[in-house]
Symmetry: C2
Subunit: 302 residues, 2 copies
């Protein structure tokens, strides 16, 4: 065999068998990620909901709901939520908490914060927002993707963008009037993404840790999953801003950045699922099927 042909043959053989050619799984991508691939949410944007069973950690999204984020911080700081209760657990839909008192006169007063706010259903699509598009399409919106760790949907024609109702997203419950919410009553999406709620109610953030403390709660048997018996309600011990909590009591988490090459590689691995178990990788991924990885902050080396 001529040297050139021999070289070519060797190249083809090695090329076909090279382990480096195998795309990495999402687990491998996360294992091999660097510190720069992760961000630590601002303590002012982090909430700790402490239930009898443990802590739920929520990250606020002030880029999308600045007035609601500020009002929720104010409500937390006047200890408004402490002693309220989980009132509603509707299977495959939402878990919701607020003031159990049905009579307005018996409700816990709101002092420094605002009882209601104008809706923040969507915002202008600014180039300053680090949008990473998910090009797989969507039933509900012309564009979908991620911004700062949140699933988003947008309409380029109108130049508007909004948070999407995926699993674990947190919103501000409202009555019939669009401006009747404000954060005093909050809900968490606990089932298949109810995307029809997008732009109908203000989303304020996302649960980073502790979803399983909410999703195991007994389902309410009343209309819309409300508990019929007051004894079924789960009391909120506290809902605090992380910045107000002593350092030793904080739950320090990091979220995978959604504006990096690592993120794109990670999403692609979730899209193709090249793990051996899969026999028909779809090559597509739907917005709310992209898990947004969260990890504990690693302890500093002594």
């Amino acid at each position: 065999m001529k040297p050139l042909l021999l070289l070519l043959t060797a190249f083809l053989l090695v090329g076909a068998a090279a382990p480096a050619a195998k795309p990495r799984s999402s687990a491998e991508i996360l294992e091999q990620s660097t510190a720069a691939d992760w961000r630590t949410p601002d303590l002012e944007d982090t909430l700790y909901l402490d239930l009898p069973a443990g802590r739920v950690v929520i990250e606020l999204a002030p880029a999308f709901a600045p007035r609601h984020a500020a009002n929720i911080r104010a409500l937390a700081r006047e200890h408004y939520y402490d002693g309220l209760a989980i009132l509603r657990v509707q299977d495959n839909y939402v878990v919701q908490w607020g003031d159990p008192a049905e009579d307005a006169k018996q409700r816990k007063p709101i002092t420094s914060a605002k009882p209601t706010l104008p809706a923040e259903f969507e915002r202008r699509w600014s180039q300053e927002l680090p949008f990473t598009r998910l090009a797989d399409g969507d039933v509900y919106a012309a564009r979908v993707g991620h911004i700062q760790g949140f699933p988003v949907a947008g309409d380029p024609k109108r130049g508007q963008i909004w948070l999407a109702h995926c699993y674990a997203m947190v919103g501000a419950g409202r009555d019939l009037a669009p401006d009747s919410g404000g954060g005093s009553e909050l809900y968490v999406v606990s089932g298949h993404a109810p995307r029809h709620l997008d732009r109908n109610v203000t989303l304020v953030g996302r649960v980073l840790q502790g979803m399983e403390l909410l999703t195991v709660l007994p389902r309410g048997t009343g209309a819309l999953g409300f508990y019929e018996n007051p004894g079924q309600r789960i009391p909120l011990k506290t809902l605090q801003v992380a910045a107000d909590v002593p350092v030793a009591d904080r739950t320090m988490l990091q979220v995978l950045r959604t504006d990096t090459p690592t993120w794109k590689t990670y999403v692609d691995a979730r899209r193709h699922r090249r793990e051996d178990w899969f026999v028909q990788p779809t090559g597509r991924i739907e917005l709310c099927n992209v898990p947004i990885p969260v990890r504990p902050v690693r302890a500093a080396k002594p």
Copy 2:
């Protein structure tokens, strides 16, 4: 005013205010449905999974997984499932049951049924299947819709159609080999639709009632949500074919037919959500966001 003009004016006024002009909500459509809009699942296709906390009712889909349906009936009839346990509860994913024994020699023997079966991931798209298309699009498949009360996805080019992994769908767990399932280990989708599993694992049916008995179970803390401590497992009292259960002990349910004008009207109401609370109806609906209504069979009049 001339009589004709008067008549026209009256018509316009009445027309504008006529309650009949307002599209009905999905609740109204169901209230006004007729007996012919509902079907009663065959007793041979209905399974009762009796847990300590109550009954889960499953409808098998023999049109899509005939060999699995037959094998699951055979397993139920040899009391294979009775005394096995829920082994895995992974948040926002699946609840799974089977034989807890890890050592093959200690496993409960399968006598009349088959331990494994060839995969039934998809089937030929026959005109005999009463397919009602959902024309809103889909991220994962070229066509989606409903057949006989099940969410389905299809590929008209290949002429193939398959059950879709929506919330409450039931599948036959498998190992690495595609033909390593068969129904001895079953899982239920308990979170956001993991559509990437479509055509990778055999779906066999859907939970009609009792999802909340599965979704409240404590999440497993092991890999993939498996329970780490055997004491955490939830025993299965029995899993029986409804036809084998005494009449007095049956849970008789009806499912809204998915091949009628009522179904199309119902889906359209869910698509547009014209209830007063909604300020921005989407006009779109995603396959797994269409709830498939189930109701108890009404008691015969004495």
